[in-house]
Structure formats: C-alpha cells, structure tokens
C-alpha cells in the first residue's frame, strides 16, 4: 500500500521527534564525559560541549588520589552484591509459599504484605526501630530497608503460579518435598523472572542514596551516590553563596567541575557496561509486572 502525502509527513515528523528525544537522553551524558576528560580551564570557560577540549585524565587522577572514591566504589559493590542475594532469597521465601494454593492463611499473609505497600510508618518511626536494633552505621540498615519489595514479590508469585501443575505433580510423585520442588523444579523454570528481579534489586542497591544518607554516618562506609552527591552539593552551595555575594566567589576553594563530572561517570560506567546485556531481561520484567494479579 502506498503512503498518502499526509502519512509521509506524519512519518517524517515522527522519526525526527523520536530521534531528538533519544538524543536528549544521551547528550547530557556525553557532555559530562567530555567535561571529565577536559582541561579545567576549558570547562570553566564553557568551551566543552560534546568533545573534550584539551584531553587529560587529570580529573580521574585527582578523584582517585584526593577522595575516598575507591572505598566508596567497593562499598557500593558490597551493598549491591550481598543486597541482591539477601533480597532474592527473601523474595523467593515469600513468593513460593504464597503461590501454593494449599498454603493455610495464604490470602491473609498476602494482604499483610500488600498493606505495607499502601501504608508505612514513615522516616522517623523506621529510624527509631532500626536504632533499637542497633544497625545504624552498618550496611545492614540498607539491606533491611530494601529486603523485600512487595511488588517484585507479587510478580514472582504470579510467575510461580503459572508454572504448569502437571510438572509439579510428577515431581511430587518422584518424591520431591517442598524444598526440592522449589529448588529443582520451580526456580530453574523461573530464570527469566529471577533475572529481571535481581536486576531491579541490583539497580536499587547500586543507586541507594537516602538509606545511606540517613543511616550511615561513618564516611568510610559511604557508597558512591552519597560521596558524589556531597561533591555536587559543595558546588551548589558555592553557587548559592555566589548568588548572595558574588565577590566571595574567588576566595572559595572548590572541587573543579571536571572532577565532579568524573565522579558522575564513575557511577554510571558499571551501569553502562551491564546495560546492553540485561536489556532484554528488564523489558521482560516490566511486562511480567504488568500482568495483573
């Protein structure tokens, strides 16, 4: 079928809009990358757009030697890796019993968990509870706060429920108990949903900010987001003061913009490396989540 003139106009406008939209999603990143690789003077005089001016790795050297960033990076990795393991274990332990039709109290327990999605104690009471359990200043606080996402649990439960009954029956006849059934049959059949949810938990832990800000005071335990945020904050504090009294500006010592850009890149790079490999999983994960129930 030939396109009418109107359709042709529509398609061209559509392609242009989408191309512009897609590019706005990467240009800021490329800009930050270019700034991190540029000479400080070029950055401050606003000469850098998408290509580094005066190539240098100086800002990365400054970042690694002058700040705690390596420690923060390792902390982020620890929080993320162990956090994903804990979260997945607990999510499976919640989702499997709740997916069994013969589980006594199934709908009551589901409601009990779902209610916490709708109503929570809030920051202060949560803080007091965690303080009572003496987990302040440890990574455990971050893990406890994110241990089970009820939404993820519901997605997993729905997936478990949709595994054909016959497979499970035959496993039982072959002598599988609940644990064997879960580990040998259900989990291997659920790899797509497990991958997607592990990914979502991983992103959450990697980006964890508020939990670390509130519950961890020891600077050697900061993760990347908190460290980088403090570098950025020092810049915006600067600007705020300049806004009030411009003449003080030159007297302030501040981290060069290129170093802060390097900090941001530090946080983004691992994500960008993993991103192409996991893309198919997260799309699947969202689709599974969209299935009602």
């Amino acid at each position: 079928m030939r396109d009418s003139f109107g359709d042709k106009v529509f398609y061209s406008v559509n392609y242009i809009l989408l191309a512009v939209g897609a590019l706005t999603c990467v240009f800021p990143l490329i800009h930050i990358l270019a700034m991190s690789l540029s000479d400080s003077h070029a950055v401050l005089s606003g000469m850098v757009t998408l290509v580094p001016v005066g190539w240098t790795l100086e800002s990365y050297k400054l970042l690694i030697n002058g700040t705690n960033i390596i420690q923060a990076f390792l902390n982020s990795v620890t929080i993320t890796v162990l956090g994903v393991i804990f979260s997945m274990a607990f999510t499976i332990l919640a989702a499997y019993p709740l997916s069994r039709k013969y589980f006594i109290g199934r709908s009551f327990f589901t409601l009990l968990l779902v209610f916490t999605m709708l109503f929570q104690g809030g920051i202060i009471p949560t803080f007091l509870v965690l303080k009572y359990f003496d987990v302040i200043n440890t990574f455990s606080a971050v893990w406890i706060l994110n241990l089970v996402s009820v939404f993820n649990m519901l997605v997993m439960r729905t997936y478990f429920q949709n595994i054909p009954e016959e497979v499970q029956e035959s496993a039982r006849i072959d002598g599988c108990n609940e644990w064997k059934l879960l580990i040998r049959i259900i989990l291997p059949l659920s790899m797509p949903v497990l991958a997607a949810l592990a990914l979502f938990y991983g992103v959450g832990y990697w980006n964890a900010f508020m939990q670390v800000l509130i519950y961890i005071n020891d600077t050697s335990k900061y993760n990347l987001p908190v460290l980088v945020q403090q570098m950025i904050q020092s810049q915006s504090l600067m600007q705020e003061m300049m806004h009030a009294t411009p003449e003080d500006a030159s007297q302030m010592q501040m981290t060069p913009e290129s170093v802060r850009s390097a900090g941001i890149i530090f946080m983004v790079i691992p994500m960008l490396i993993v991103y192409p490999f996991v893309q198919k999983y997260f799309v699947k994960g969202v689709m599974l989540g969209s299935v009602k129930g």
Binding site: H31, L118, F119
Partner: protein
C-alpha cells in the same frame, strides 16, 4: 453430626461414617504436613515484616506523644492531638503540605501523558533498527540514580560555566538563574523527572499496543482514515484499559514527590517552593531530633496517600478495573 450432611444420609451405616471421618482426618493431617515446610519458609519473611514494616507503623504512636529520648516510644507522655494541631496552625507546615501537593500533582499532569505519546510514536516506526535504537536510548536514564541526574542538571545549568547558560549568555547577554527562580526551578524539577522516567514508563504501553490486532489498522486505512484518525480510533481505544490502570496507580502516589529528586535539586534560595514533607521530615525531624511533630506530619502524608489509593480503586471498581 457434621459429616452426615456430606454423606447425605441420616441412616448411613456407622462404618461408612467412620471411613469418611478417617479420610477427612487423614486429609487434614496431610495438609498440615504439607504446610509445615511452607510455614518454615515463610517464617523469616513474616518476622521481617512484623519487625521492620509493622514495627514502624506501631511507632506512629509517637505522633500522639511528646517523644523524649529518656522515655522512648512507649515511656513518653501522651499529648493527644497537640502535634497535629501544631501542624495545621503553623504557616510553614501548611506551606510544605501545599508544596508537596503542588509538585506531585504537576508531576502527574506533566509526566503521565508523555509515556503514552512516546509509545504511540514508537509504535508507528517501521524500521526496526531505528525503533530498537531509540528504545535502548530512552530506557537508559531510568537506571541512573538521582545523584547522577542532579549532577548533570547542576553542571549544565550552573551560572558560571554551565553549557546552557553559556548559550543563554550568547543569545541574551546575561545568564539566567534556572535553579534560583521558583518557577524555573519547578520547571527544572519536572523536566528532570520526565527525562528519567518517560522512556521506561512507555514499556507498559508498548506491551499493550502490541496486543492490538493489525487488521484494524488496515481496515481503518481502507475506510480512508489518515494516520491521526487511525491513532484516534484504533490505537487509543486499544490501550485505554492500560491508561486507566496506570492513572489509578499514579493517583496513589500523589502524596509522594520522592525524597532523592527534590532533596538533591533544592537549595535555600527556592526553599519557598522546594521544601516538601519528606525533605522537611529529614532535616527537622531527623537532623533536628524533633521526632513527634515530624512523625505526625509523616503520618498525615501516609494517611492521605492511603485514602487516595482506596478512593482511586473504589472509582476504578465501578468501571471494573479495580486492583483488588
């Protein structure tokens, strides 16, 4: 006896009753045996939720108390509704509640239609390499933390070297304080949210769009419908169910503007519009140790949120689209 009803016969032989009773007992025993491992599995989860999710809910009692470190949650004296009265009599608190509502309503108004538009536009792309590349790029910002996004925003809009202000200066001769003018700040906040979430939120609509029967488009175009008419009469009705569902879900989040985004973009110059409940609770409640009043504020926020979800779901049920 109870099982007579099942047997359906008053004069059934005693032996039959006995068999039925025994089989029921056996079944119950098997059910219990089957449930035991499930309970063992579920116990840690249950303990976790009771301690760390329901514990804080119980802790909300301090909203009705004068919390003191010495007394703790249970030992502190009751003050009734005094904390709530204080909330609604302090102009600053009312301002914070207003900001929270304003920003989140704006976020829904601005952020809700865009993923639908993006999904519709993507759906009309016929070159699959183009579609795939666009999708890969627009999903990306969802995976960045607000630290990254705030860092980018501040770097680009900063007054002395931000690239946008360099251009603004070339055009107008002067820099513009994007982050220090209330209206501009709100625009920046909304735009950063759109940048982060639009692509990823479109996935769900794309899934809904893929379920529309292609022959509908063919017959529409046979009938002389141009692209816009096809979108209006085929595409939109095809995904209206998903749109309504997503709208309900977003209604539930009306009271949440999110801590990270606002906290990282705000500054004292625009505090008049940028202070929201969560950031205020953090600063005054946690750092300033004013536990009782800020708990009352958080309680109020949670309650309004709960009422909004229940209302939205109640409305949705009347259209048979409720979540429960």
């Amino acid at each position: 006896m109870k099982f007579n009803r099942i047997a359906g016969n008053e004069s059934a032989p005693a032996i039959q009753k006995d068999v039925i009773a025994r089989s029921r007992k056996l079944r119950r025993k098997r059910l219990l045996r089957q449930n035991l491992p499930l309970f063992i599995m579920f116990a840690p989860v249950l303990i976790y939720f009771l301690l760390f999710k329901y514990g804080p809910i119980l802790g909300l009692v301090i909203a009705f108390k004068q919390y003191s470190l010495a007394g703790g949650v249970f030992g502190s004296p009751w003050v009734g509704m005094a904390n709530f009265e204080m909330l609604f009599n302090t102009p600053q608190m009312l301002n914070i509640i207003r900001n929270t509502l304003m920003l989140s309503v704006l976020q829904v108004v601005v952020g809700f239609p865009l993923p639908i538009l993006l999904a519709i536009l993507l759906n009309e792309v016929r070159k699959s390499w183009f579609k795939k590349s666009v999708q890969t790029l627009v999903y990306l910002p969802h995976f960045f933390s607000w630290v990254v996004i705030a860092g980018i925003v501040i770097a680009m809009l900063s007054m002395e070297s931000g690239i946008i202000n360099v251009w603004v200066q070339k055009l107008t001769g002067d820099v513009y304080p994007f982050l220090y003018e209330p209206v501009a700040w709100v625009a920046v906040l909304l735009a950063s949210g759109v940048w982060k979430t639009t692509g990823f939120s479109a996935i769900i609509y794309l899934a809904a769009l893929s379920a529309i029967n292609p022959s509908l488009y063919e017959s529409a175009s046979m009938d002389g419908a141009n692209k816009f008419r096809q979108i209006w009469h085929v595409t939109l009705p095809g995904i209206s169910g998903t749109i309504i569902l997503m709208l309900i879900l977003s209604m539930g989040q009306i009271m949440e503007v999110g801590f990270d985004q606002v906290f990282m973009l705000q500054n004292s110059v625009v505090a008049g519009v940028s202070e929201v409940i969560s950031t205020y609770v953090y600063k005054i409640g946690l750092l300033g140790a004013q536990y009782s009043v800020t708990t009352a504020l958080g309680f109020f926020e949670s309650l309004v949120g709960l009422v909004l979800v229940l209302t939205a779901n109640w409305i949705a049920r009347r259209f048979n689209r409720g979540l429960w």
